[in-house]
């Protein structure tokens, strides 16, 4: 992988990590807009797959997603560069703030800006939810649509553990794919 692409990857990850307010979910939408729509390094399907793997592994979702994208684009070297880009912004910002954290926490300007940003973060997440669910609907397979709504209801209203949902959905997918393979159909 050429140096220019590695540098671009580092710069992009650094940039994305600086704006992952509201947890790892935001980075999925940022990655989609950057790597799929702008740079065209990944397909939308791949981002969904990476989101699924990143979510199912232990550790910070943003770091997991960065490793997957980095490895896919530039092998081990790409993965290391992507991790560095993701980890540096919080490391630098928190190191600085830790010395003045009480002043930062109570600052009215900081609080007002962050309160304003919350609405933007929510809008970005909802935008990506609309786009991603459209990809699920496009598969024209009712069972996936049912799984999506069921998973939402079960996490939102019944508070079922995320791990349970991930394991059962993965098993459902494997069984379904094995079944269609046996019937001689296509896997996907």
């Amino acid at each position: 992988m050429e140096k220019g692409k590695l540098w671009k990857m580092f710069y992009t990850m650094f940039n994305l990590s600086m704006f992952t307010f509201g947890g790892g979910y935001v980075i999925i939408s940022l990655m989609k807009s950057k790597f799929v729509e702008e740079l065209e390094w990944l397909s939308e399907e791949e981002v969904l797959n990476f989101a699924a793997i990143a979510q199912s592994c232990p550790g910070p979702v943003a770091v997991n997603a960065a490793i997957l994208v980095g490895y896919r684009i530039g092998g081990i070297k790409g993965a290391l560069v992507a991790i560095l880009g993701t980890v540096l912004p919080p490391l630098i910002i928190l190191s600085g703030i830790s010395f003045v954290y009480v002043a930062f926490r109570d600052n009215i300007i900081v609080n007002a800006v962050l309160k304003g940003m919350q609405a933007g973060v929510a809008a970005v997440i909802f935008d990506v939810v609309f786009d991603l669910s459209a990809t699920i609907f496009k598969k024209k397979d009712v069972s996936y649509i049912i799984v999506m709504f069921l998973a939402f209801v079960v996490t939102q209203f019944l508070g079922v553990n995320v791990m349970f949902i991930i394991i059962s959905c993965a098993c459902f997918g494997i069984v379904k794919s094995w079944y269609s393979l046996k019937k001689g159909g296509n896997v996907s």
């Binding site: 969904l48 797959n49 989101a51 190191s95 926490r105 900081v110 309160k115 609405a119 809008a123 995320v162």
Partner: protein, 195 residues
């Protein structure tokens, strides 16, 4: 030896926190407050507040903060490396498997099943952030009386921009909301003091 303890503590946090930041908080609390007493409970609560106010994964933010308190920049680096190490190993193996066995029926099947689940999980997280933005923290009942009008308008306008202009950079939307929203909130506070 304290650096070794710090490293191991955050390896444990990185290895057992499934499902993102919120799931990591009780684990971090156990390591940092209960077992090692590096921070008091009040300090830990402050830390969580700040970790949520600043960008980046919550676990990395906590690792940096605790590390700095214990041994300055060295501590921060040790804790952060510990926190991402399990991810590096586990996810790298999965990334390798993904590239190699992308077309096997087990991997394709598992991912096909996981995709709708992940959309649902992102929707759940989005909903809780939206409720936080529209009604504020720790609200039990959601009604029109405690709806934040400024935040609602910001949300609707941002969402419309993202939907209408597909190429819009989400980062610009977030910065825009921060600047515009921040100024409005400050102005409202200022007026409230004046009147």
């Amino acid at each position: 030896m304290i650096l070794m303890d710090l490293f191991i503590s955050f390896v444990i946090v990185g290895m057992f926190s499934f499902g993102g930041g919120m799931a990591a908080i009780p684990l971090i609390q156990e390591q940092v407050v209960t077992i090692h007493q590096w921070l008091s409970l009040t300090e830990f609560t402050d830390l969580i507040t700040i970790a949520q106010m600043t960008p980046g994964p919550i676990a990395i933010n906590c690792a940096t903060f605790v590390g700095i308190q214990i041994d300055g920049l060295t501590g921060a680096l040790v804790a952060t490396i510990g926190c991402v190490l399990p991810s590096c190993i586990i996810v790298s193996i999965l990334a390798w498997l993904y590239v190699k066995y992308k077309d096997s029926f087990i991997l394709t099947g598992a991912l096909q099943g996981l995709q709708p689940a992940v959309v649902a999980l992102i929707a759940t997280a989005g909903l809780s952030i939206l409720l936080l933005a529209l009604f504020g923290e720790g609200v039990e009942t959601y009604s029109l009386d405690n709806l934040d009008i400024i935040s609602s308008v910001l949300f609707i306008v941002s969402f419309a921009i993202l939907k209408i202009r597909k190429k819009t950079n989400p980062i610009h939307v977030m910065i825009g909301c921060g600047i515009v929203g921040g100024m409005i909130y400050l102005a409202v506070d200022y007026l409230a003091i004046l009147l």
